[in-house]
């Protein structure tokens, strides 16, 4: 039997459990990262191979895509993600995601990872404290507004999904011109349905860049990949696995060479 410690952060010994595809997806760990194990599990359950990457290293180890998981990078006592943006690994990711020739690396930032992506200007806008000033953890319904990114290709347009939301600094802000451009260009990828949980402008939960390879979102798809441990849904308690589609999407996109 496996002797893997079942938890957070330390997935150095994680086995690559019979991946269905050759897709290698890097999961970056900063010292204060919390959801890296969950992200690695989501990659495995989606059929790929999770490759642990360390913030201080400079090699992307030939991964095909990157997940920046949630947490508190370096403590985030300053602005969330503001220091992480300068990590050696982030420089490599920025380079690979914005390459002027060849395939641009697909990058997904979740929660703190989304904050890192806005801090490093791979995505527009910024996150501030929730308007109610509290940490909020709840099951959240989102509408998928853009299915043309490698991370959302297997959703149906306008699909409603439920995944956990949990953050303190989740209020998405951007200037009016940026918001207008995002809407006009269809770059809002996920939108909150129902009560706005944090005051985000235009109820934006996730956005993509101009080339659609970089996606950031505040809620946590990696916590909705396994029945029994996700959000509640119609089939039963904690049965929601809507988040898994994000990971199967990118793996299918990589396999199909779609970009």
């Amino acid at each position: 039997m496996s002797t893997e410690t079942p938890l957070i952060g330390d997935f150095h010994a994680a086995p690559a459990a019979n991946p269905l595809s050759g897709a290698r997806i890097g999961v970056v760990t900063f010292p204060g990262t919390l959801d890296d194990r969950d992200a690695a599990r989501a990659v495995r359950l989606g059929g790929g191979t999770a490759v642990p990457l360390w913030h201080a290293d400079e090699s992307l180890q030939n991964v095909d895509a990157i997940v920046l998981p949630g947490g508190f990078s370096y403590g985030d006592y300053l602005r969330a993600g503001a220091i992480a943006r300068f990590a050696p690994m982030m420089n490599k990711i920025i380079e690979a995601a914005t390459a002027s020739s060849g395939t641009r690396l697909p990058v997904l930032g979740i929660c703190n990872g989304f904050q890192m992506l806005t801090e490093s200007h791979l995505l527009p806008g910024s996150m501030v404290k929730n308007d109610h000033l509290k940490f909020l953890c709840r099951d959240q319904v989102l509408r998928v507004e853009n299915t043309s990114t490698p991370w959302t290709s297997q959703f149906t347009p306008e699909e409603l999904i439920a995944i956990p939301l949990k953050n303190q600094d989740g209020q998405y802000l951007a200037d009016p011109a940026t918001l207008e451009a995002l809407e006009a260009e269809g770059r809002v990828v996920f939108r909150y349905v129902g009560e706005n949980p944090n005051g985000s402008r235009n109820r934006i939960a996730g956005v993509t860049n101009e080339t659609h390879n970089v996606v950031g979102l505040m809620p946590h798809p990696e916590h909705a990949v396994e029945a029994g441990y996700g959000p509640d849904d119609a089939t039963g308690m904690r049965s929601g696995t809507d988040g898994l589609t994000i990971f199967t999407s990118v793996i299918a996109s990589l396999a199909g060479g779609a970009q």
């Binding site: 410690t5 079942p6 109610h132 441990y229 308690m237």
Partner: protein, 791 residues
């Protein structure tokens, strides 16, 4: 007490040699909280007067908090009443940082509850935050990876202005620290009662898991092994908290008042967790101890006295945040996020590599010796030379006088039924329906999700159940589904009426909660919150509660593996109600078998059974609280029945017979039904006449009595026969009282009363039930509502 006759400078570098030649020097032992006979004992142990640093160490290690001097004689029962059978899964018992229980498959689990009551009253955010930090470090010290936390909380009256200060700070402190560690918060309690005014109880539980081979103990063995302090730097925080250093020892160039409450840095703790686990995994430490109360004093004396030899430490090598700290202050500092470890010289370089990877600061302080002495030097001069056992283990032990309060008889005679509160009870369908709504919208029965939604319950991806289900459930092994369930409970009103029974009722409820989710109860950790041990009446409550808990654990066959005693919870001479918080840990072979606490939408038409017997037991109940009455005797305890009920619920879960289960406790059947419906917004149609007939009680009693050893279950009709065969074979009362009605969204309760039945719309009830807490504490939300509308 007179001024010390030594100058400040001499006091600060008061060496052993100096102490030997100045036997008549006055020391501020009284200001440090020592009694004169305790001071005399230190002098007799050492054969001379202690140095200032030694005095500081003894004073804090012999304090109530560290030495358990008032409680020790009673706590012994937890060890004495453990049978061989109860020990079979116990890998480490009471006395270490936390007890360790074998889970099977090579896994072990460790858990513990501690209090951080006083700091949380003074500074709610940091007090609660560092409470989480401290208990998590206890778990790491055992070699385990922390996997979840829980927080039993008790506040003053919900409408008291100070509760508005304390509660939001405590909740955001727990969230702010715990959420940053990546530990799901899987449950706890929230209780409001004016007895906790000026004395909130902020208890914190942490649970961790490890492979058997990763178990670590706090001892320093192997002569020549090196002692290292790592993590955060040592600062001046936490020194004033226990009033252990007299003001005379500070000179004017430094701040005269140190912060009484430690300040937490959750990022440092998160890094410390990962860094320690890497050390364990690479087998780089021989012994490890977290730094909590009494800081380096505690860590050095505990490590040294639990090993075979002695220890030699150079205190000037401690990395400081504040270079002006004196040796005594360094020894006493309770700065957070620090650990002390013993490392072989061969592993030192590898240890340093791990520190560098995680960018954790460390300093080598000394080594393990064979002298049997703990020797601490300051710049090469000896300032401490003691037998570490005399500091850590041979503290004073008191047989505090205790006696049953004179008022106890009158209190117990003042039953609910005989009081004015017991008159004009609801009788008609309409009155009973209204009473259920009143109950569910009372502060102690209301929805606590405004609080628990500020905690991360998902991180780790192994949370199978959390608030509001009966216990929190965490998967340990992803391949097999092996996991644990945890619940904490206390009913201080019951314990006030009868401390012996009350403590057993807390145990019974926690045990029942764990079994209700389908887990097999295995171990107990307790946090005993009481008033002053110097009050013989409080001491009687304590003695009775401990005796009750120890007897109860023996009867249920679950050992106490650790815990904490918090005394002096009283302000202006008024003690809190005795509050023994009992945590029970249970085991699942496969957590996917866990039973949820509510009716699910797909379960339409399932049968609802009430297990157990209802008696007229309203004394101390939530209904009585609603009428401001507290008197009489708490519900009867029948641990044999609890055990049998547990077996039924565990078997039913394992064999897949039931789809929902919820224990009956505060608020009785009325609360149980309402909570099962509110869980997923699925209604039910039930009738209470069967209960009234069989148990000889009226409908009001059937709904609101808090008789023990009862639970509600929902099961498919196809399982009814198998299920009732099981209860009949055990002779355990089981009565079909209704069906799940997924189509209606209403809870309909029929009975032998005027009006025939009452119907509660669950949506409507939810609105009122979930508004109780936010309406008091979400005032910031109102301020931002206008902004929200604009967006």
């Amino acid at each position: 007490m007179s001024e010390p006759t030594v100058t400040d400078k001499e006091f600060n570098i008061d060496t052993v040699e100096h102490a030997s030649t100045t036997p008549d020097t006055d020391l501020p032992w009284a200001e440090l909280g020592l009694k004169s006979d305790e001071y005399d004992r230190i002098v007799s142990i050492l054969g001379r007067r202690p140095t200032a640093a030694e005095l500081a160490m003894y004073s804090v290690m012999w304090s109530e908090h560290c030495s358990y001097k008032s409680s020790k004689v009673h706590l012994r029962q937890f060890g004495e009443k453990v049978t061989e059978e109860m020990k079979k899964d116990l890998m480490v018992g009471i006395g270490e940082n936390a007890g360790v229980t074998d889970l099977g498959d090579g896994w072990a689990v460790t858990f513990k509850i501690e209090s951080h009551n006083h700091p949380s009253f003074v500074e709610p955010y940091q007090g609660a935050a560092t409470g989480v930090g401290g208990i998590v470090r206890d778990i790491i010290s055992m070699g385990a990876r922390p996997v979840a936390v829980m927080d039993p909380l008790r506040f003053g009256d919900i409408d008291h202005p100070d509760t508005l200060r304390v509660l939001p700070g405590v909740v955001s402190g727990i969230g702010g620290y715990g959420n940053s560690l990546g530990l799901p918060n899987i449950g706890g309690e929230v209780v409001f009662d004016s007895v906790y005014q000026d004395n909130p109880l902020v208890n914190a539980l942490a649970v961790g898991v490890m492979r058997h081979e990763d178990l670590r103990l706090a001892n320093a063995s192997g002569v020549g092994n090196k002692v290292v302090l790592f993590g955060a730097r040592t600062g001046g925080d936490g020194i004033g908290g226990a009033s252990v250093l007299a003001s005379e020892s500070f000179d004017d160039s430094k701040p005269s008042k140190r912060p009484a409450v430690q300040v937490g840095d959750p990022f440092a703790e998160k890094v410390l967790i990962e860094c320690c686990l890497e050390l364990f995994h690479a087998e780089l430490v021989e012994g490890i101890q977290d730094l909590g109360a009494a800081g380096i004093s505690c860590a050095t004396s505990e490590l040294a006295s639990n090993g075979e030899g002695g220890m030699h430490v150079e205190l000037t090598d401690v990395l400081l945040r504040d270079p002006s700290l004196t040796p005594g202050e360094i020894l006493m500092s309770e700065s957070q996020e620090r650990m002390m470890a013993v490392v072989t010289p061969a592993n030192a370089a590898e240890f340093e590599r791990v520190m560098a990877k995680w960018e954790v600061e460390y300093s080598w302080l000394g080594e393990v010796t064979d002298t049997g002495r703990l020797i601490i030097e300051w710049d090469g001069e000896t300032i401490v030379d003691v037998d570490p056992r005399t500091v850590a283990h041979d503290g004073p032990v008191y047989e505090r006088p205790y006696h049953r309060p004179d008022w106890q008889d009158a209190l117990q005679a003042d039953t609910f039924r005989s009081s004015a509160a017991g008159e004009n009870l609801p009788q008609t369908a309409q009155e009973l329906g209204g009473a259920v709504v009143d109950l569910m919208t009372s502060p102690n029965m209301a929805d606590v999700s405004w609080i628990t939604d500020q905690y991360d319950r998902f991180v780790g991806g192994n949370t199978a159940l959390s608030q509001p289900d009966d216990s929190g459930v965490i998967r340990v092994d992803e391949e097999t589904g092996l996991g644990v369930a945890l619940s904490t409970d206390a009913n201080a009103r019951y314990t006030y009426l009868d401390p012996y029974t009350g403590a057993q009722l807390a145990l019974a409820e926690s045990y029942r909660n764990v079994a209700t989710t389908g887990a097999i109860p295995m171990a107990v950790s307790d946090c005993l919150n009481f008033g002053s041990p110097e009050d013989p009446e409080v001491m009687w409550q304590f003695a009775e509660a401990v005796r009750g808990l120890a007897d109860g654990c023996q009867e249920l066959g679950v050992p106490v593996t650790g815990g904490n005693v918090s005394l002096y919870n009283q302000t202006a001479g008024r003690a809190i109600h005795p509050t023994p918080v009992v945590g029970v840990l249970g085991k699942f072979d496969d957590v996917s078998r866990r039973t949820p606490s509510g009716f699910e939408r797909w379960a339409d038409g399932q049968a609802i059974y009430l297990l157990g017997t209802t008696h007229d037991e309203l004394d101390g109940s939530e209904f009585a609280r609603g009428r401001d009455h507290l008197g009489g005797l708490p519900p009867k305890v029948d641990l044999g029945a609890e055990k049998m009920l547990g077996e039924i619920l565990i078997n039913a879960s394992r064999d897949g017979m039931i789809d929902a289960a919820h224990d009956l406790s505060e608020g009785g059947l009325a609360a149980g039904l309402a909570e099962m419906g509110l869980r997923f917004g699925v209604g039910a149609r039930v009738a209470v006449d069967g209960i009234c007939e069989r148990d000889g009680v009226d409908p009001f009693t059937a709904l609101f009595s808090e008789s023990q050893a009862r639970a509600l279950v929902a099961l498919p009709r196809s399982e009814e026969l198998r299920f009732t065969d099981m209860t009949t074979a055990r002779g355990f009362a089981a009565l079909r009282i209704g069906v799940v009605d997924a189509s209606s969204g209403d809870l309909e309760v029929a009975g032998p009363y005027a009006g025939d039945s009452f119907t509660l719309g669950l949506d409507e009830l939810r609105e009122a039930w979930s508004a109780v807490i936010p309406s008091r504490f979400a005032t910031l939300g109102e301020a931002t509502e206008a902004v929200r509308q604009e967006k």
